[in-house]
Subunit: 478 residues, 2 copies
């Protein structure tokens, strides 16, 4: 009965007083008391923590095409079936890249004592090509900017090019981890291709991340079949060492990278619907991505995101709350190196995109949430007041609008007009762990994860029950 009620305080109070009635309890709409109850239920549950632990402790790394990714599909689907959600597996073909041997050794430099070489800690970037099994030995060219690559283009041929660009942790500490990561990852994404075009024999990038514990940060490159140059990330420490030695004189290294690019593999998006009532044909997505990089168990990236999306369904099921619109949990496959899951979903839903009311993805780790970012229409922002009010006691009532969020999996839907939502979170430490061997369960704070679930569930619920439209995303041309 309250479903169609908007947020008049009087009716909300009345509604709260009626919460014990069964029919009402099943569909309380966007009544403030219902939102509070959702928030409090999330804060009292460790369901997301348990699912994050299952994904990371029992399975571990989940790179697309790996046994871990397949096991995660099964595990998440089973958990969602156990909740009584309507589960389907959406087939997708995914890239299948497998890490091999990876070693680096500085074999010539000014001042090198006889018989001494220096080991470099590195890890192949996703999609990297391979060196011969015995490796490639070549002079190293240390560059600090793309401009320098242009200026020294004539020197690149046959060299191992190192882009020694430091991650801007100061920026990350001040709420700008995204731009800091963007600056750094540009070299990882474009550096290998650009240096390959100039004849480089291999490309190294300084790890894109804040931690200084000899940690290599892997990640995707723009490399494709036919142009797969050997490409690796060296740790910040080793990049600095190489830059210092290059200042002393000529520097040569031996690099061995033997990753393989196998034929595309079969995999799946896991989709679990909590069917809506009177607007069941309209869809609100809550999601995270199921695949991870292969160096760690991907606790922050993105087991915690998937587990939070799963917990949205669990929280509402536990409360016996049914949304007006269908809430669709999606555990996307292959966000990290292809976004094939997101592309496949978009292709399958092309005719139905207009029925997607909004889409949430958590893919910035599960640090403390401060609220939400969204690409909903500017006029919609004022509609979120009751939702913000419900989250404010958690310090999570900040809603920020951007013209486009461009999250990995939702960007296609967003370009097609579906407003995106992503938790606004503390990411200052995220890039200390992200894509490194250190992204493990112990880095997840159970309290932060509960808050994350509270924000995701309240937002999903709110969107699924709104009277007013929130408009369509209008993503500016890039």
């Amino acid at each position: 009965m309250n479903r169609r009620c908007c947020c008049l305080p009087f009716l909300s109070v009345l509604a709260a007083s009626l919460l014990s009635l069964p029919a009402f309890a099943a569909s309380p709409g966007n009544d403030p008391a219902a939102l509070a109850k959702i928030r409090d239920a999330a804060m009292a549950s460790d369901y997301a923590w348990e699912r994050t632990a299952d994904m990371t402790d029992l399975i571990g790394p989940r790179l697309s095409g790996s046994p871990g990714a397949a096991a995660a599909v099964t595990q998440v689907a089973e958990a969602m079936r156990k909740l009584g959600a309507k589960v389907s597996l959406q087939p997708v073909k995914v890239p299948h890249w497998v890490r091999g041997v990876e070693t680096g050794e500085l074999v010539e430099y000014t001042g090198r004592p006889k018989g001494i070489t220096q080991r470099v800690v590195l890890t192949a970037l996703g999609g990297s090509g391979a060196t011969p099994a015995a490796g490639v030995t070549a002079p190293v060219l240390v560059l600090s900017h793309f401009d320098e690559l242009k200026a020294r283009a004539a020197e690149v041929k046959g060299k191992i090019v190192l882009f020694d660009v430091a991650f801007d942790q100061h920026m990350a500490d001040r709420g700008l981890a995204g731009p800091a990561y963007g600056q750094g990852s540009a070299y990882r994404r474009d550096g290998p291709r650009l240096a390959a075009e100039l004849g480089a024999s291999a490309v190294l990038v300084r790890s894109v991340g804040g931690a200084s514990y000899r940690l290599p940060h892997t990640g995707g490159t723009g490399l494709a079949d036919g142009a797969r140059i050997p490409a690796a990330a060296v740790t910040a420490e080793d990049a600095m060492l190489m830059a210092r030695l290059a200042k002393r004189g000529p520097l040569s290294m031996r690099l061995v990278l033997t990753p393989q690019t196998l034929p595309d593999a079969d995999s799946f998006n896991v989709i679990a619907d909590l069917p809506g009532t009177d607007k069941a044909d309209e869809i609100v997505i809550v999601s995270g991505h199921l695949d991870s990089w292969d160096l760690a168990t991907g606790a922050h990236d993105d087991a915690g995101g998937v587990a939070s999306a799963m917990a949205v369904i669990e929280t509402l099921k536990k409360l016996d709350y049914r949304p007006r619109r269908t809430i669709r949990m999606i555990a996307w496959m292959n966000e990290e190196n292809g976004t094939r899951g997101a592309r496949g979903y978009l292709a399958a839903e092309q005719a139905n995109v207009g029925k997607h009311f909004g889409a949430i993805e958590s893919d910035n780790g599960v640090g403390r949430p401060f609220g939400m970012r969204t690409s909903a229409a500017p006029g919609a922002m004022k509609l979120f007041g009751p939702l913000q009010a419900a989250l404010q006691p958690l310090g999570a009532g900040v809603f920020q609008r951007q013209d486009a969020l461009q999250t990995g999996d939702l960007s296609g839907l967003e370009r097609a007009g579906v407003p995106s939502f992503a938790p606004l979170i503390d990411t200052s430490a995220y890039f200390d762990y992200h894509h490194t061997p250190a992204d493990t369960l112990d880095k997840v704070d159970p309290d932060h994860l509960r808050r994350h679930v509270a924000v995701m569930t309240a937002t999903a619920w709110f969107l699924a029950n709104m009277e007013q439209p929130i408009g369509r995303a209008s993503v500016p041309e890039r």
Copy 2:
């Protein structure tokens, strides 16, 4: 002329005004102006930084018996000869342990999806025995205390025992890094032997250190020939994972460790004397240790210590200051896994121990120094006032007495009566890097290193010129 003058302010001021006279400049004794000049010269120099860079960037790891250790002997001896010091190489036989393959894999546990195993990041402990090349597969027994080893002694046989004892970083943050390290390293030192005695097939310890970036911390064990059980440190993350999985049910792992213990190797202490004047037969040692563990370049442990000791000689040479007692720079060999260098020196100097006035070693990293710790006699502490006053502008005037410092290399001399000195420094971050792959040059702050040199040089100079005895160390029986 001022050499025999004690620290009367009037004479000190007079002495300062005479500093330009050549004869005086060469031997200004413990005049406050001379101490200030030493301090300021150290703060204006990057000599120690350059030597630290040479040791770490050009050579790298320097484990006893390795080519790196040999190269370091040559490099340091050459640098000291270049300064005009009287250099000798004191032969010592050192253990020669070489790391091999090291992998860990959790192969059975409750909830394990078919085809999935979990990789564990670990590193062999120094002196570890080897598993067969194909590894050993055994159930894991997770223990959190020695008492638990006793209580569950009957379960140990054939198991891989994991001591999951967390490093107490809170303690380390509050000036108690030493005791925190002592608590943790007890399991590394005694755990393998004690578990071996109960029939364990291998022993793992949780890495003893504060950083949480999947870093394994190696270090010595008490293992000797005939009783070398395979022993490794797992990262904090992996220890926690194993403890969590063990709570779910039985846990088994496959462990491969193939280190080798080779015959003892020939090596050297590097000794460089700055001869004294009227008390040249008395000796003040300034020292650090030349060997490092093999996972990193040992910048904090202990290239920075050796470089600071070298810089004591360089600073005094540059100022053309000659001490009354001989200042002896020693770069000890084999502190990490045998202290053979220190033992050899003590044996060679047995008859001459009484002539050792005091001994300084820097072996707690080169974080910011706050002053000095010493095992000088209680009555001597008041004599250090002028030295403290000279260091106070650097915030390094705190002198603390302990009955025994028991630093790795000086403990033998200390037991024989030679008062020990060690910089009192900020070690809160030291165990984040110590014995891990992350102990690299970039972790050394050039300003802290200069302060370190200032403290070491002023103290060495002060000791070498003191009128009064500082007594003998009186180390209590343990």
